[in-house]
Amino acid sequence: MAEKLVPVVCPWCSVGCRFYIVNVNGYPKKIEFDYEHDTRNHGKLCPKGVSSFQYLRHPDRLKKPLKRVGERGEGKFVEISWEEAIREIAQRLKEIKEKYGPEALAFLGSERCSIEENYVLQKLARALGTNNIEYVCRMCQSTAVAGKGMVLGHPGLTNPFEDILKAKVIVLWGYNPAATNPVFFGQYIEKAILDNGAKLIVIDPRKTKTAKYADMHLQPYPGTDLAIALAMLNVIITQELYDKDFVAERAEGFEELAKTVEKYTPEWAEKVSGVPAELIRKAAITFATAGTAALLTNEGVNQHANGTRTVMALTEMMVLCGYFGKEGVMSGAIPGAHNGMGAGLMGVEPESLPGKFPLHAEEHRRRIEEVWGFKIPEKPGITYVEMIDAILEGKLKALYVMGTNPAKALPNLKKVEEAFKNIEFLVVQDIFLSETAKYADIVLPAAAWFEKDGTAISFERRVQRSFKAADAPGEAKPDWEIIVMLAKELGLGEYFNYSDVDDILREINRTIPPLAGATPERLKKNLKGCMVPCPDENTEVPRLFVQGFLTPNGKAQLIPVEYKEPGEVPDEEYPFWLTNYRLVGHFHTGTMSHRSKSLSKRWPEEYIEINENDAKRLGIKDGDLVRVETRRTALVFKAKVTPHIREGVVAAPWHWDFNYLTTDVLDEYAKMPELKTAACRISKVEG
């Protein structure tokens, strides 16, 4: 038995945990912990990491290309050869492009694929003449990217993980790391609290495993976080708790901001959010007077129609207190998947080029065109949710989906299904026959994360290489290989002349200056990787904003923010606030985790949390079936009666069918759909 230990990066969340896959003759046998290396996880793993080889050999794995024979959505296919599949895709894409123009084509990249794969996919879209290229960041981080971008000029996590150990106060806002990033929580946050005495402030409508450690827990109605943020700004400014020197030196727009937040008192915020004014005041004072602070946000803040505004207000709080650029500080939003940040940096976005340079940045466009050898289309593409509308309007005819599952991840799923039933041509490249793949004309079998070499960027901005640790089943191939095959068939071979991932990474090094130093040689030699920006092989940047911000004049822009309600709020007809959350044992739409034996056994089904007083009023007992109805549709859940959610709010994990209930109202800046709240009514299912 030839047993080999291959170092990999965890395929699930974005902490960037390292471990080994024990490979026996190409077969993944189990995982082994990494005790020796200086890894970010110190060898530790959460249940997803430990069991992450389980889904690899699941019998449902796609092993051959498939062509649809039944109705769309029915999931009936016949096996075809790779040659046939690639030929047909190329032909249909060409036809559609000729008939309707390149903007009738769109591509979806993936936070679950490597940076190399995302890079070649966006390059293919652009080579075909369209900027219609997107990935799920639109649905989890885009408001944070837009909000922090406007204030600071860069959206990344500001400091290395170690800095949180020195923070005096930690604010976790709409973020439950004990369930979503357990290793980051256990190795850094929990140590800061239990061992180093940091104070913890949690803002979340639910009392979570994270909130268990909180000194202060603010429980707002979902989507009213902005009211609390504005009131905290009000307290910090009116009580003069801000860092006057820092603001004078490194920020502009203070007067305007101060004037705007005058009316947003804690008493006002109490009426809007349901959080006692005194608690908001106390939180603001604790935060501002701590000396060092970490303020981490996630989807509880991001996924709202007022998400960008909330992120701006929170970032401004950090600026006012002068926390940026210091040790013992941390600010950022946490991508959901292991390469959430990497895909974005590769330019898998309708309005930005590789390196996140805006499409209209003449100088960068020219430079990249020179590397690529063809012209980049100038017209910005359309965003993820807008693609669905464009399909329904008949403007978008073909969609190419790589490793992502919009038919379960998007809000208002009935509408999405309608779109996928009516699209002219749909290709899905994935490891399982996902909900989306069931609508596809052609399905291509892809290699899973451990079955290929590739690079990912964790939420710490750390670039790490993962190595091939198992053979792909059947005829499944790495995503980059499939894209290159297709590009060649489309007659674009000269631009896609790669024989391995290292070739692609070397081109990335040339195309994206902040990644110039993340060479294949460096990443292979140094498993700990390096932190972006890494402009050359000896450099990396652990801490952002030490000198100035990345805005044009280097100063933080304190843009005043006004309050805006979430997209849908309860009324007489739909009196409850509905929200969702994640379970530690599942990942996104469950394509992989529902197929992992040890995970699905422990986290088998969805349920809805309802406050004990609400339950009593409605005659609902723990375990009863309840019908939850929004303006879109209704679902039935098992009730979990608990004191840990505030009255008037109900919440369910989103890994199952939750998105049939959600609305597709968009944030005005980032076009993020409001996935985190909706108005609903509930009733007990009798009988």
């Binding site: 005790y35 996880n41 060898g43 530790k44 069991s51 369930a179 357990p182 256990g186």
Partner: protein, 165 residues
């Protein structure tokens, strides 16, 4: 010297990585995480008692202590009489329905033989599970308090600082 897994329930976040890690090693999890309504949770496995009742009642001496002090089962001797299950105050030994013999935590004997930690301890992201000799574990805790006192002591009078706390 006897080593054990110590459980610090203050740190447990009920993530069940320990259960899953154990399941990966043994096919079935021998450690269980219990959650309580107030959000506390405790991972619970064999205590490998100094005077282990399971060992004492076993009629065929299938249970014994190994060099590290772990109570381990010899599957070739076990007759599945369930005496150990009845005797164990923590309800740890379980019958393996397929083989009709007992199954229990052995502190991952095969991993220890390779110089590795028990799987559950390796995984636990919060270090709620610690493996070691009781004196070392206690010393690590006391050491921290002593270090803190020393730190304060450098600035004021140690005794005074201690009394203030």
């Amino acid at each position: 010297m006897s080593k054990k897994i110590f459980i610090d329930f203050k740190r447990c976040i009920a993530c069940k990585a320990c259960e899953v890690a154990c399941e990966m090693e043994h096919g079935e999890a021998r450690i269980r995480v219990f959650e309580f309504p107030d959000l506390t949770s405790v991972a619970f496995n064999c205590r490998h008692c100094e005077k282990a009742p399971c060992m004492e009642v076993c009629p065929v001496n299938a249970l014994s202590k190994d060099d590290d002090g772990a109570v381990v089962l010899d599957p070739l001797k076990c007759i599945g009489c369930l005496m150990c299950a009845v005797a164990c105050p923590f309800g740890i030994p379980k019958i393996d329905e397929y083989n009709k013999i007992m199954d229990k935590c052995d502190l991952c004997a095969h991993r220890r033989a390779e110089g590795k930690l028990p799987a559950c301890v390796s995984a636990c992201p919060t270090e709620a599970l610690k493996y070691g000799d009781i004196n070392d574990v206690l010393w690590a805790r006391e050491g921290k308090i002593v270090a803190e006192l020393k730190d304060i002591g450098d600035r004021t009078n140690v005794l005074e600082a201690y009394l203030i706390r």
